[in-house]
Symmetry: C2
Subunit: 555 residues, 2 copies
């Protein structure tokens, strides 16, 4: 019989050969083979082509269960029973993934492949897009070992008609652990040092500030080799301001850290890492671009009150590069962290007074509109900036060069007249020609100084904007649960659910607040930088022209 | 029988429907009808199409004479015998003319049409191109009334095998009167005040400077009406610095003056008048452009040692606008001036020591190369400037507008977040957006300030460069005659011819010297003006950006 699958998310085809799929749409697969992360099949509109394997779950009605295209989810809810699905070729390295197309990378290393010499091993890393599944990583809420279950009163899962589990078992709400937490299924030991406080600030809930703020610089990467130069990689020198001890990290370390953070903090927007590139990764342009991207990333990390303080990030920043044992120890500890997903919410300490959930809903809805609009506008601004950049590097440069050549040309014909009174003018004209050619070069070099950084900033924010739908989804899920529980006052856990929804809401609003604050800070700084660069650019042009003008005084 | 014509000059077709003709080529005409200055016919290569009637002479072998397409030349050598050629539709207003295509206008008014209310009466004005016939105007060397014949020793025309008349009776050398002068056929009364001195300067012969230099401003023209507003024309207010008495002149007065000067000074480059336009001549842009052109023209006139002092120009500058009688008197006097054409050379007083004619030849050849190259380069520079101008007014403006809109767009989405700490940033972003839109406008407006004046200057020089081939031709003709006379020492007039050739050479070199001096002066001034405008332009941009930057300090 035909092999069928159900779409878990919307996917919009962007390239020839791809087909679009709509959430819940039933698709016919040609085979179970996953090629480079893609299935081939036909959608309900009869279009045939490729779509991401991780966006669908195969329907096996005769076996009575369905399996998400991504093996990880199956791990949680459907312990693998030895059935060897072709898409499980990723094995243990599976992170929630989308086939390579564009966007930012995430990877989940393991000790086994950790020492791989290549930064960009395609079998251990994948490219994520702005798709809703990006932020999920495997998290296995421990149902046993429930030592403490703060806020859930130690309650185990209970289903009722009104406050049951989400029917879509693979929604972000479910995967983030949000549902499990709201339903009181999360449990774990939360030490004092693990607590994350949300305080009530002037503009609503906000993360308690890091009492020991620090920054971290990233040096130009150096090329390192292994195995007598057979294998090489780039190493970045990091210098955290609070330790003043330099450490060296490779891109894959950043990548591993990123994966840890994403699974650890379901309602925190972890900044995306700069784009990775399979080829030419030792080329100067790419190295420079990636370093700038990593600096932006690092600035966002160190300025986040929660991310900056978390263990895994501190381990990354402070563990000696030469102490391999200490590194592996910290690495394993981080990978075994039980306060991920649902349990993350156990660590949140909300302000004393609970929030008005209706007000929360309105704020979150407002923010949803904001992110949607900002995302749209950024796309448009990016197009404009890229075009303006291109025009300056080509058209503007060409025009000023041509004008320079025209003045040179006039100067050259004037040189045919060798009379004394003409000489200085001829020299001045030649100089003017050269000046305009230089100005053309200025135009060509300028975007790197001013438009590129704006573009880098927009990229960081596009990453955040791609994160927020999931964060909002978790809060919405919690709110829905709270509303359902209130409708039916008989639900014994209604109060607890409301309380846990409050925790999720506080965390979400704190994160939104943090987003706005850093946005205002970043865009102010970036616009100032842009304008300063532009001013200095036009001043350099003016100086060049004044130099040329001066030549005529002697003519 | 087929009507045939002989090409007097090369004509290169530039538009569909036109055919190229080569000097001396025999053409077959379809008819004698001149349509808008064009004949239709077939050239010797079998190509059919249009060519300028004034470039050919009709061959009427059965009548034993040939008539140049232009009725004027026929006037000189073949007094019209009442034969009504179709191309004589121009009647008395005929000046040497080329059909309208491009270039500068020349016209020769008459009392009859003087009071015509239209500046641009197509029956009294024609458009000249850079063709060798442009500079010729009707000049009838009076063979009788030879009161004095300075330099020719009172000799009348004499022909010999070696120093005969030019076979091409219509060459510039002939038409300018150069040949007649060299052969001693020129005669006229030259008063002391008519004498034009060439002195030996540091760099060779030069015109004696005007001991009373002056300038003349041209005000914005005002629209005047006649016949109760039925007819209207533009009137320019002129203010010569040496009289300080304002006079009003219309374009047709300039046009008339131009025609007088061209016939009066065969080896002086009379600056071309700004282009005339049949329609839209009251439109602001055109008025502004023409006024700027007239200012350039006037500057060249007042700074020329010979042109600035001549009677007809002084009459134009000083005759009261309201004294119609005085005006007409001066007008008639100028039109009857006998020191035109060949007789002009009678007025030249050369330096005491005659020039080395070989050196003259080498200088003139060098200058010929110079003008040819400069003309070519100016064409290229003009294309570049026009394109740069257009780019700034369209592409550059658009790009800066688009960037402005992008910043606005970001500011707009930021306004969705109504938090207090965001407000100043939002305002600053909106301001930055507006600033870039303004900068776009600056770019669009700038060419008018800096590139247009360069372009105007180039136009004036294109006019000069179009004049010089004829001037050089006259000198070359004289030199050839001198060489011929030297070859055959028996020619009795050899010494006189050599002396007269020296006079023409002195005048030519003085004019070349003047050209170079004004060129250096003009281009130096124009480049300084251009650079000053550019500097002020980039400073305005910088100021605008600093204003925008300032907004962020408060954000």
């Amino acid at each position: 019989m035909a092999l069928r699958a159900r779409a878990l998310y919307d996917f919009v085809s962007e390239n020839p050969g791809e087909i679009s799929v709509v959430e819940n749409e039933i698709l016919t697969l040609y085979s179970e083979d996953v090629v480079d992360g893609w299935f081939e099949g036909t959608n309900s509109r009869g279009e045939s082509g490729l779509f991401p394997a991780s966006y669908v779950e195969i329907l096996r009605t005769e076996e009575g269960f369905s399996v998400q295209g991504n093996g990880t989810a199956g791990n949680i809810y459907n312990p693998r029973t030895g059935s060897e699905y072709a898409y499980q070729v990723r094995g243990d390295t599976s992170s929630e993934s989308t086939p390579q197309r564009h966007g930012y990378p995430t990877s989940q290393g393991s000790d086994d492949d950790w020492d791989d010499d290549w930064d960009d091993n395609p079998t251990t890393t994948t490219m994520a897009t702005h798709d809703p599944s990006v932020r999920q990583h495997k998290h296995q809420p421990s149902r046993a070992n429930s030592v403490s279950s703060r806020g859930s009163g130690g309650q185990q899962a209970r289903s009722s008609a009104t406050v049951g589990k989400n029917l879509n078992r693979f929604s972000t709400f479910v995967k983030s652990g949000g549902e499990a937490f709201v339903l009181g299924e999360a449990s774990g030991l939360v030490r004092d040092c693990d607590q994350i406080c949300v305080v009530m600030g002037q503009f609503g809930p906000e993360w308690q500030e890091n009492p020991h703020p620090f920054t971290c610089t990233i040096d130009d990467p150096t090329k390192q080799t292994k195995f007598k130069g057979m294998k090489s990689y780039m190493s970045y020198g990091l210098m955290p301001s609070h330790t003043q001890i330099p450490v060296n990290r490779r891109y894959k370390h950043f990548d591993w850290l990123y994966a840890r953070l994403v699974e650890r903090f379901p309602v925190i927007s972890v900044p995306h890492l700069p784009e990775k590139q399979a080829t030419g990764r030792f080329e100067e342009d790419f190295i420079c671009k990636r370093r700038k991207g990593l600096i932006w990333w690092m600035n966002h990390m160190t300025s986040h009150p929660v991310l900056s303080r978390c263990d895994v990030f501190q381990h990354f920043l402070t563990c000696s590069s030469s102490d391999e044992k200490a590194w592996k120890q910290g690495k394993r500890k981080a990978e075994k962290d039980h306060l991920v997903g649902a349990n993350f919410f156990l660590t949140i300490v909300p302000p004393a007074a609970p929030l008005d959930l209706q007000e929360v809903e309105s704020k979150v809805d407002g923010f949803k509109t904001f992110t949607k609009k900002m995302d749209e506008n950024i796309v448009q601004v990016n197009v404009t900036i890229a075009e303006f950049s291109r025009k300056q590097m080509t058209g503007f440069k060409k025009e000023y060069h041509k004008v320079g050549q025209a003045f040179r040309l006039l100067g050259q014909v004037f040189e045919l007249d060798q009379q004394v009174y003409s000489v200085k003018l001829n020299q001045a004209m030649a100089f003017t020609g050269a000046a305009y050619e230089t100005i053309g070069d200025y135009f060509a070099e300028q975007p790197r100084q001013d438009l590129d950084p704006v573009s880098d900033l927009l990229a960081i924010y596009q990453g955040h904007l791609a994160n927020f739908p999931d964060i909002i989804h978790v809060q919405k899920g919690a709110l829905t649960k709270a509303k359902e529980s209130q409708k039916d006052k008989d639900v014994p856990a209604a109060h607890d659910i409301h309380e846990r929804c409050n925790i999720i809401s506080c965390a979400t609003l704190a994160e939104i607040q943090h987003f706005h604050r850093t946005r205002v800070r970043d865009f102010k700084a970036q616009m100032q930088h842009y304008l300063l660069q532009q001013i200095s650019f036009f001043q350099r042009i003016t100086a060049k022209l004044e130099e040329a003008l001066h030549m005529y005084e002697q003519a």
